[in-house]
C-alpha cells in the first residue's frame, strides 16, 4: 500500500494523506504511515464530504473534489493530528480513496511544528501517567501503550523485557506486551479504538483504572522468554552493553541462539531499544509493525529511543522503590520477630522467676527430708526387725524416698542457670584479672600491651576467673623469670590474647600449652580444665602457633562481639 502511495505521489510528498475505502478512513503522514485511527463510518458516504466530516482533525475546504489519476486531490491542512504516530490496519476492499494534503509550504511548516509539539505532548502525558501509577506493572503498561497507541508512537506491537539475575547471570526476562497477536485481533482492537476517538490521556486513565490482565495472547508469547546477556557476540548483550538502539531483522536473528525468540516474536524488522537508567541497564523495549508490515524508519527508532529514556528513569525508580519496599517488609518482619522474641523473653523471665521460687521451695524441703529419712534409716539399723517401730520406721524411709524421687523430677524441670552474660571490654577484663594478682610478685610481672578496644560477650566474673587461672599457670611455668607480655589483637572476628614470656619464649609457650592436658598436679589440671571449660563455653579456646621468627606462641581466642542497642 505504501509502495502504491509512493508511486502515486512520487517525490512531491505532501504532508499527509487520507486513505479510505469509503467505509473506513485513515489519515496518513508524509511517509505514508497512518497517523490517525481509521474509523468505521456508520454508512457509506455518498460524497467525499461525508467522509471528511467524520474526521474532525482535518480542516478542509472542498466543494467539488478533483479526481486525478484515479485519486481525489483534496486541499486540506493538518491540525492537531499532525505528526502523531499511529499504525492502523487497512481493512479489506479493493478500492481505496487516497486524499493527499496540499503540498503548500505553510502546511509542511505546520506539520513539522506539530510533530515536535505532539511528541512533547506524548512525553508529558506519559510522565503524568507515570505519576499516577501504583506499581511497576502499571508503568510497563503505560510505556507499552505509549509505544503502540495510534496517538502515541504507533507501533503495532511492543514488548518490554527487564533485567534480572538468573543463575548468577544477567538476563532479559519477558515481562509485558501490548498489541494484537493477529490481524483479526488488530482489526477488532483498532476498530474499537477508532470509533471512540480515545485520546492517549484517556487510554492511560482507563489503563490505570482497569485491573491488569496479564493473560493476553501477546503476553503469553513472551511469558518466560529469557534473553541471555552473556557472550561477546550476543546481539542483545551487545546492544545492552553499548546502550544503543538498533533495528533487528531476520538477517541478524538467523543464528540458532535466537531460535526461540524468532519462533515467539517473529524475525523482524524490530526496534530494539535499551532502557538505560541512571544506575544501570533496566531492560529493553522491542517494538515492531508485525501486522501492517510497515517499515520502521530511522526517525521512529529515534523517537522510541527518546521515549525509552523517560521510561527508563521511571522503571528504575519503581524497581528501586520495589526493592526498598521489599527491604522494608524484611525489616518489619524482623521487627515483628524481635517484638515477639521480646514478649517471649518477658514471659520466659516471669516463668524463670516462678521456676526459681518453686525450685527454692523444693530445695528447702530437701534438707528436712534428708534429716527425717537419714535418722529413720539410722534408727532402723539399730533395732531388730521384730521391734514394734521397725515397720513404722521403714514406712518413713519409704515415703521419704518417694518424696525425694518426686523432688528430683521437679527440680530437674525447674533447674535454671544464672549466668550474667554481657558485652565486656576484653582489655578491662584482662587488666582486672592481672590486678587480682598484683598482690604477689608474679602478678607484678604481667604487662598488658593495649590496643584497639575489643568487645566480647561473656559473664565477666567467669571470664576473669578463667584468665586468672591461666595467668596463674603462666606465672608458674615461667618460673618467675622475666616479664610476661599480654597482647590483644583482633583477627577475623575473633579476639586473640597472646601470652608471651621474655625469658625463653618458645619453651614457655609450649609448657603453658601442655599444662592444660598434663599439669604437674591434679589440682592444677583441674583448675586449667575449669578455665578451658569457661573459654569453650563462650566458643573460645587456647592454641599454640609459630611466630614469624619461628618461636612458638601461646594464645587464647574468643569471638568478638559488637554491642547492640
Amino acid at each position: 500500500m505504501i509502495a502504491m502511495l509512493e508511486r502515486v505521489i512520487g517525490e512531491n510528498s505532501p504532508p499527509g494523506f487520507i486513505l479510505s475505502d469509503l467505509e473506513w478512513y485513515f489519515v496518513l503522514n508524509r511517509a505514508g504511515r497512518p497517523v490517525h485511527s481509521g474509523g468505521r463510518l456508520n454508512h457509506s458516504p455518498s460524497h467525499i464530504n461525508d467522509l471528511f466530516r467524520k474526521i474532525p482533525q482535518i480542516e478542509y475546504h472542498l466543494d467539488n473534489p478533483e479526481k486525478s489519476g484515479g485519486f481525489y486531490q483534496v486541499p486540506v491542512s493538518l491540525s492537531d493530528v499532525a505528526g502523531t504516530i499511529y499504525i492502523g490496519p487497512l481493512p479489506g476492499g479493493e478500492e481505496f480513496l487516497i486524499a493527499c494534503f496540499n503540498g503548500d509550504p505553510t502546511g509542511k511548516q505546520i506539520s513539522k511544528t506539530h510533530s515536535g509539539l505532539y511528541f512533547l505532548s506524548l512525553i508529558a502525558q506519559t510522565i503524568r501517567a507515570f505519576h499516577d501509577a501504583d506499581d511497576l506493572e502499571d508503568i510497563l503498561r503505560i510505556v507499552l501503550t505509549g509505544v503502540t497507541a495510534g496517538t502515541g508512537l504507533g507501533f503495532n506491537r511492543a514488548f518490554v523485557f527487564l533485567t534480572e539475575v538468573v543463575d548468577a547471570r544477567l538476563c532479559l526476562i519477558g515481562k509485558h506486551a501490548i498489541g494484537p497477536a493477529s490481524p483479526e485481533e488488530a482489526g477488532q482492537i483498532w476498530g474499537k479504538l477508532s470509533s471512540g476517538e480515545i485520546t492517549l490521556e484517556q487510554m492511560f486513565n482507563d489503563l490505570l483504572r482497569e485491573e491488569n490482565n496479564g493473560d493476553s495472547p501477546l503476553n503469553r508469547l513472551i511469558n518466560g522468554l529469557v534473553l541471555s546477556l552473556d557472550g561477546h557476540d550476543n546481539l542483545f548483550a551487545r546492544a545492552a552493553r553499548e546502550k544503543k538502539s538498533m533495528l533487528i531483522d531476520e538477517t541478524l536473528l538467523c543464528e540458532p541462539d535466537y531460535r526461540e525468540f524468532r519462533e515467539r516474536l517473529g524475525s523482524g524488522p524490530m526496534a530494539f531499544v535499551p532502557l538505560v537508567g541512571k544506575e544501570s541497564l533496566q531492560g529493553v523495549i522491542i517494538a515492531d509493525n508485525h501486522i501492517t508490515k510497515k517499515p520502521i524508519a530511522k526517525t521512529d527508532l529515534q523517537l522510541l529511543d527518546i521515549f525509552a529514556r523517560y521510561a527508563s528513569d521511571s522503571i528504575e525508580k519503581f524497581r528501586l522503590y520495589e526493592s526498598l519496599e521489599g527491604k522494608i517488609r524484611d525489616l518489619e518482619m524482623a521487627n515483628r520477630t524481635i517484638v515477639l522474641s521480646r514478649e517471649n523473653l518477658l514471659k520466659a523471665e516471669r516463668l524463670s522467676v516462678l521456676a526459681e521460687m518453686a525450685g527454692q521451695v523444693a530445695h528447702e524441703i530437701r534438707n528436712p527430708l534428708t534429716v527425717i529419712g537419714g535418722f529413720a534409716k539410722s534408727m532402723i539399723r539399730k533395732i531388730p526387725e521384730t521391734h514394734e517401730n521397725y515397720e513404722n520406721l521403714n514406712m518413713i524411709v519409704e515415703q521419704v524416698g518417694r518424696i525425694e524421687v518426686a523432688l528430683n523430677r521437679f527440680t530437674s524441670l525447674v533447674n535454671y542457670q544464672s549466668k550474667n552474660d554481657q558485652y565486656c571490654d576484653l582489655e578491662n577484663l584482662i587488666e582486672s584479672s592481672i590486678h587480682l594478682r598484683t598482690g604477689d610478685a608474679a602478678g607484678r610481672r604481667f604487662e598488658l600491651i593495649k590496643n584497639e578496644p575489643i568487645m566480647i560477650l561473656t559473664d565477666p566474673d567467669l571470664f576473669r576467673q578463667a584468665i586468672f587461672l591461666i595467668l596463674q599457670q603462666a606465672g608458674a611455668v615461667s618460673e618467675n623469670r622475666g616479664k610476661i607480655a599480654i597482647r590483644l589483637e583482633k583477627s577475623e572476628g575473633r579476639a586473640i590474647v597472646r601470652i608471651e614470656s621474655e625469658y625463653d619464649a618458645g619453651t614457655f609457650a609450649e609448657r603453658l600449652y601442655r599444662s592444660f592436658s598434663s599439669a604437674q598436679s591434679l589440682e592444677t589440671t583441674r583448675r586449667l580444665a575449669v578455665a578451658l571449660e569457661i573459654l569453650k563455653h563462650y566458643q573460645g579456646n587456647i592454641g599454640l602457633e609459630t611466630s614469624r621468627s619461628n618461636i612458638p606462641q601461646f594464645y587464647i581466642e574468643i569471638p568478638c562481639s559488637e554491642e547492640v542497642g
Binding site: N367, P368, A376
Partner: protein
C-alpha cells in the same frame, strides 16, 4: 583415725552426719558457717576431708572452697547441697565431688571412703 569436718548451717544435718560418720569410725568436726570452718581448719593440722554445704549465711560453701583451694591445696572437699543447680557454677568444679543431699547417705559414705583411700 581419719578426721572429717561437716560444714552445714542446719543443726539437724550436722547431727545426722556426725552420727553416721562417727559410727563409720571417723573423727567428726562440726562447723555451722564458712568462717567457723576456716578457723577450725587452720587450728586443726591433720584434717583429712571436708563435707561442705553451699548455701550458708556469711561465707558460703563456694567461697570457702576457693579459700581452701588456695590455702590447703591437697585437702579433699565434697560439696553437699540441697541444690543441684550449683553444678553449673564453674567454681563448684574445684571440689573433688558434688553430691545432692539425700536421706540415703550411701553415696556420700562411699565418696568419703574413696577420697580418703587415695
Amino acid at each position: 583415725m581419719k578426721t572429717i569436718m561437716i560444714v552445714d548451717d542446719e543443726p539437724a544435718i550436722r547431727k545426722l552426719y556426725q552420727r553416721e560418720f562417727s559410727e563409720e569410725g571417723y573423727e567428726v568436726l562440726l562447723a555451722a558457717s564458712g568462717e567457723e570452718a576456716l578457723q577450725k581448719i587452720k587450728d586443726k593440722n591433720n584434717l583429712d576431708l571436708v563435707i561442705l554445704d553451699i548455701k550458708m549465711e556469711g561465707m558460703d560453701g563456694l567461697e570457702l572452697l576457693d579459700e581452701l583451694r588456695s590455702q590447703f591445696r591437697g585437702l579433699p572437699v565434697i560439696l553437699n547441697s540441697a541444690y543441684s543447680t550449683y553444678k553449673n557454677d564453674f567454681t563448684s568444679w574445684l571440689a573433688d565431688a558434688y553430691l545432692v543431699k539425700s536421706a540415703d547417705l550411701t553415696e556420700l559414705r562411699e565418696k568419703v571412703q574413696e577420697l580418703l583411700a587415695v
